[in-house]
Symmetry: C2
């Protein structure tokens, strides 16, 4: 159930993959079923249009359509985080305001980037987030993603949180997220509601030890990762570790082999969606890696394989 | 005047900058005047929505609006090249078909890329351009741009030209474009109408020596660069070199200091547009670099400073 407005969002916030038909068109029915699964799996919130949703392969019209569909389908059952990244401050701000108007509880953005070489300096990054937050009433998640090629120090992240009232969440995707979270919380713990990690939750235990209150994985096992967070934050670290380590082989397979296709492959295997297609030029997972994934998942029996039955 | 349909496009093909009001909104009147200037300056064709047009800072709706405006304003006086790059094959193909329907003479695309780490392998790049070209009747310019982070060998470019009938143009933006052009023309000279260079024409003489038939600079001095190409291809290399070297300081200032702001700064200085604003997070040129640019340009007296008088 959605927390009261203004209450911090934490726990497990999976990214919903974007579901395509085999021809690459949007599968809106599959999208709805995927969102329903993520709600039923005990997610604390759901993120749409993230990189794990192939946001970089969508047109603007499709982004809007998927935002509206997600908010309609989730229908207040959970907070929805809408990714609104764009290189241009102006376009990112417009996307964010539109997401708020459509009912998003939070927006998430990376610092501006384009291609291999176009990045913004620190002053421009500060102005970017200030520009996006201006006139926005919902909180902003700063997504610190190595994929973007933008380098955000703990000091810069802390400055953003201090300077911009609705920058209340930071999602760290680095291998060294734990120590960066510590540094960040030392500098700005008083103004950050959501120190989160990402990256399929592959660094979750160390990040929870460092003070993370939420994690943004793919959509494979929200029911497990949510329980890991609850056990850890409830004080039973040993039980959190035990559960996490049992599921680590599957988390690792997603992080190292299956990537953004992992959730889709298991949604399809579980009968929740009809096709696990990704949009070209991304290529399907090899038969061999997919077989290894399905074998591993069947052994662990996550909800994603049984929900549709 | 536009060449007959099907005739190769070459010579100077400047990139039209996207003109913004100081608040970052599109300045459509300034855009029209910029296009008129580029036509009057003796361009052989005009390219819109390139990186030098800040394409990465535009929404999809703005791209469409600017495409339509350019084709309406140029009105058949010259061929128009519309950049239609997008990571997704499907979206890039849709953009390209739309550009053709709107009247584009060519479309130009980079190989797919996103952020610091997401690239496509060779097979996926082949499929990407084949997918974009499928059902398209106008030629495709493959833009080989280091900014994209995609590495395209001469062999791969030649394969694309051999395998895909409307891949007839390749634009090379590397410092070593000359030798790459030679390798490309050895492998696929029979199926390439436009071996072009780019990068503000900073490597133009060596590239013409290597067989380039066109160059895609910014919009600062089309009247000069067109004449350089004509002299060289007419057999008077010494006269081409003499003219080029006289203007090289300005070309170098754009390439090394002013970047995509150079054309706008001089359009404004020449009274053609009212504002040389770039879209945040890009920052204005420093006062000092702009003063150096204007001083240098006034000494050389290009058409851009006198056209509006």
């Amino acid at each position: 159930m959605s927390p009261p407005p203004g209450a911090p969002v934490g726990g497990v916030v999976p990214v919903a993959p974007t579901i395509f038909h085999p021809d690459g068109s949007l599968d809106l029915e599959g999208q709805r079923r995927t969102l329903d699964f993520l709600v039923d799996a005990g997610s604390d919130a759901i993120c749409v249009l993230a990189n794990w949703s192939e946001q970089f392969a969508l047109s603007d019209v499709e982004r809007e359509r998927l935002t509206d569909l997600a908010l309609e389908q989730v229908n207040g059952r959970l907070p929805v985080v809408v990714t609104t990244s764009h290189f241009s401050t102006r376009v990112a701000a417009e996307r964010s305001r539109r997401a708020e108007a459509a009912g998003a509880s939070l927006v998430m953005l990376m610092a501006p980037y384009h291609g291999a070489t176009i990045r913004a300096g620190e002053a421009a990054i500060r102005a970017y987030f200030a520009g996006v937050a201006d006139g926005l009433n919902i909180p902003v998640v700063v997504q610190d993603a190595p994929m973007s090629g933008a380098v955000l120090s703990a000091e810069l992240l802390a400055d953003l949180a201090h300077a911009i009232p609705n920058v209340r969440y930071v999602k760290l995707e680095q291998s060294d997220a734990a120590d960066k979270l510590r540094a960040l919380l030392r500098l700005a713990g008083d103004v950050i509601d959501g120190p989160w990690d990402g990256e399929e939750s592959i660094t979750l235990i160390a990040d929870l030890d460092a003070g993370a209150t939420g994690t943004m994985p793919g959509g494979v096992i929200p029911e497990i990762l949510g329980e890991v967070v609850r056990r850890h934050r409830g004080g039973d670290r040993a039980a959190a570790v035990e559960l996490y380590e049992r599921w680590l082989p599957l988390i690792n397979w997603e992080n190292k082999h299956g990537g953004l296709q992992t959730t889709k492959a298991l949604l399809m295997e579980g009968g929740i969606i009809a096709s696990d297609a990704v949009r070209a030029p991304l290529a399907p997972m090899s038969h061999e890696l997919r077989a290894g994934l399905v074998d591993l998942a069947r052994r662990l029996a996550p909800l994603i394989l049984g929900w549709a039955e």
